[in-house]
């Protein structure tokens, strides 16, 4: 990974700004623009200040970049973008795209995306990616000029292939199954976590009511008054503490979300394999049938039923010349077909090899990242418990002075 861009260049998405402009329909729209800053990581000589380059991009441009990468490198598990719309929110969080907290989390997500691409051994070398980071104007045109949209497989074609493919590589079938289950379990986890956060919020906030009533009660007490009053203050602190706790937990949720979306990228690679495999199978099938047709025409025997065969029987055979011509055409097609089949086979094998290499790389990354995420989560819980102990110990101290 010595060559990867991330080692040579510092990349940050440092700011987000609300903009208004006119869209394709010439209607006014509000959107958020993100500032991408890049700086070459050269051998840091004393006192040398390396200049920072920067440009603004909006979410749709990131989407365009990712689409380009997905189509151009179908054998790579392409890093996902942060969610377009706020999902799995618990009630206090806003589902509004313009909400500053959402924008902030998205900014972090976009930076993460760029860093992932920049540290990928294959993707980081892509010129379009590089110009996304460095070329201010005209980038969209450059991307579209690559004509990548034409290379994109239609969804329908992909779906068809999934159902009809006969002999996909078993590993890819298993992987697809895994990515489906992973998506399902992480969504479930995120949904329940949001509900848990909601309930925990309620528990903490109700304790705030103790603060008020202890204060009121302390007013009619002589000896107990001070103790009650100060304990009430700690109850207020307790109730207020949940906001920071839950905000931190959102980062954990974002880490899980990234892998939820990664599952989709995994599936895309599997689908590509199925498509290629199906294509291969169809080509082989086509070749076989052409060979058969050829043979039948040459020997005059009809082995398999064909409409052409039937009609020719009904309406009379063709002339020998016509037959000769047909055979010639078929022989040419067969030759072409055999060459195509050979190259498709080769393509297929290459794809499987390089895709599987990237999948192994991805698996390691996933295990590492998710372990980190779980550790962070445990650390957060520990911190929350310690805060709880602290507050209640303080309150107990106040009660003891009653």
């Amino acid at each position: 990974m010595e060559d990867c861009l991330a080692k040579k260049m510092e990349i940050t998405v440092s700011e987000a700004e609300k903009r208004t402009g006119r869209n394709a329909m010439n209607m006014q729209e509000t959107y958020t623009a993100y500032l991408i800053e890049t700086r070459a990581v050269e051998s840091q000589s004393e006192g040398q200040c390396v200049p920072v380059d920067s440009l603004w991009r909006r979410y749709s441009e990131f989407e365009l970049l990712r689409n380009y990468l997905s189509v151009t490198y179908p054998h790579i598990v392409v890093p996902p973008l942060p969610e377009k719309r706020a999902d799995f929110v618990w009630h206090k969080l806003s589902a509004d795209n313009m909400d500053p907290d959402f924008v902030e989390r998205r900014r972090i997500g976009l930076e993460n995306f760029l860093l992932r691409v920049a540290s990928h051994p294959v993707l980081c070398q892509d010129k379009i990616f590089y110009s996304f980071l460095t070329q201010e104007g005209g980038w969209k045109e450059v991307v579209n000029e690559t004509g990548f949209q034409l290379k994109a497989d239609s969804r329908l074609k992909a779906l068809n292939a999934t159902f009809r493919v006969k002999n996909p590589d078993k590993r890819f079938t298993e992987l697809k199954h895994y990515s489906d289950e992973l998506q399902s379990v992480i969504s479930h986890l995120l949904r329940v976590r949001a509900r848990v956060a909601d309930r925990l919020y309620g528990v903490y906030k109700v304790h705030g009511n103790y603060g008020r009533v202890f204060s009121e009660w302390s007013a009619i007490e002589k000896e107990m008054g001070d103790g009650l009053q100060s304990a009430g203050h700690h109850m207020d602190v307790y109730a207020a503490s949940i906001d920071d706790i839950l905000e931190e937990e959102e980062h954990y949720a974002d880490q899980l979300k990234e892998y939820l979306f990664y599952a989709e990228a995994l599936r895309a690679v599997c689908r590509k394999h199925e498509l290629m495999q199906y294509d291969l199978e169809m080509a082989a099938q086509d070749l076989t049938s052409k060979k058969q047709q050829c043979e039948e025409l040459a020997t005059g025997t009809v082995r398999t039923f064909s409409l052409k065969g039937m009609t020719s029987k009904l309406f009379g055979q063709e002339t020998p010349e016509q037959r000769e011509a047909k055979i010639k055409v078929l022989e040419e097609q067969i030759q072409e077909g055999e060459e195509q089949l050979k190259s498709k086979n080769l393509e297929g094998r290459d794809f499987v090899k390089s895709a599987w290499a990237d999948i192994e790389r991805f698996k390691e990354q996933k295990n590492h990242d998710l372990k980190e995420a779980l550790i962070n989560y445990a650390v957060m819980q520990i911190s929350m418990c310690k805060k709880g102990i602290q507050v209640w110990t303080n309150a107990k101290e106040c009660f003891s002075k009653m």
Binding site: V185, L189, R193, W217, V379, S400
Partner: protein, 385 residues
Amino acid sequence: QDLSLPNGTPVDTSSPASSSSLLNRLQLDDDLDGETRDLFVTVDDPKKHVCTMETYITYRVTTKTTRAEFDLPEYSVRRRYQDFDWLRIKLEESQPTHLIPPLPEKFVVKGVVDRFSEEFVETRRKALDKFLKRITDHPVLSFNEHFNVFLTAKDLNAYKKQGMALLSKMGESVKYVTGGYKLRSRPLEFAAIGEYLDTFSLKLGTIDRIAQRIIKEQLEYLVELREYGPVYSTWGGLEVELSEPLEGVSACIGNCCTALEELSEDMTEDFLPVLREYILYSESMKNVLKKRDQVQAEYEAKLEAVALKKEDRPKVPTDVEKCQDRVECFNADLKADMERWQNNKRQDFRQLLMGMADKNIQYYEKCLTAWESIIPLLQDKPETK
């Protein structure tokens, strides 16, 4: 007859607590200004009785004493709730100038509470124990004849019937006339007590509602946690290297669930009943204040009547004198009791609230232990296995 608790566990039928263990238990209570105690009462050992007509619970009431008013140094009797209720009524009747401690509610209205569940019986036992201990600590009430009988009589029912007859015969004028006398002016200190009790019971009511709300929210949180933990386990089943860490997190959340359940149970069983007890206490105290007002009003009315007659020799008639005595006694008793009550209240609430803080601390400590223990599991590198 069943001699076991509803859940089938046999009830401990060991002999009445030895003096030393009783003393140990009672050491926890605050000392009454260094007074040497000579009367110890405990309520324990609940037993269910199934008879043809009804099913009920009895509690063992154990007494240890050196007082001359008692024939024996030790007693052990069995009493049921209605016996305690009877005692309370008798005390109210015979000691109307004093504050009588409250009993837990007779009928449980809220929800579908099982009268014979372990938790309910235990909560009630604690309240009955507190009730008797408060009487024991009272310098006047603890010497009450009915209290003595309650603690000692083998057959309380016989005494109850006899007592009724005795009362009517002796003409114990224990009932103060609550005729419609109007009070001129309430002494400031009693007005203050009245206002205090009003605000006090109001605040307790609020705290009761808050505590109930917290318990409710905690249980709803628990429901979600119970679904949350297992999802990590399901995920663990999909993974290879992450399998153990994910299982670990799942188990951890399970432990937190258990801890939370314990916290909510403790709050329900220990915290709420004591709050409610004090609300009842305030209610009965306000009634005593009203009685005091009545006694004073009666005295003032009679005094006025005498003044109006304008006799040559304004000799104060004996019944007006008696009224004056009554007022002064009542005021003195009430003042003393209020002071004692305030002090006990402060100690009770100090203990109650410290207990609440303690339970929360324990909950967080349990959760902390659970999470700290899985950090090494999460950090474990596969090569080291």
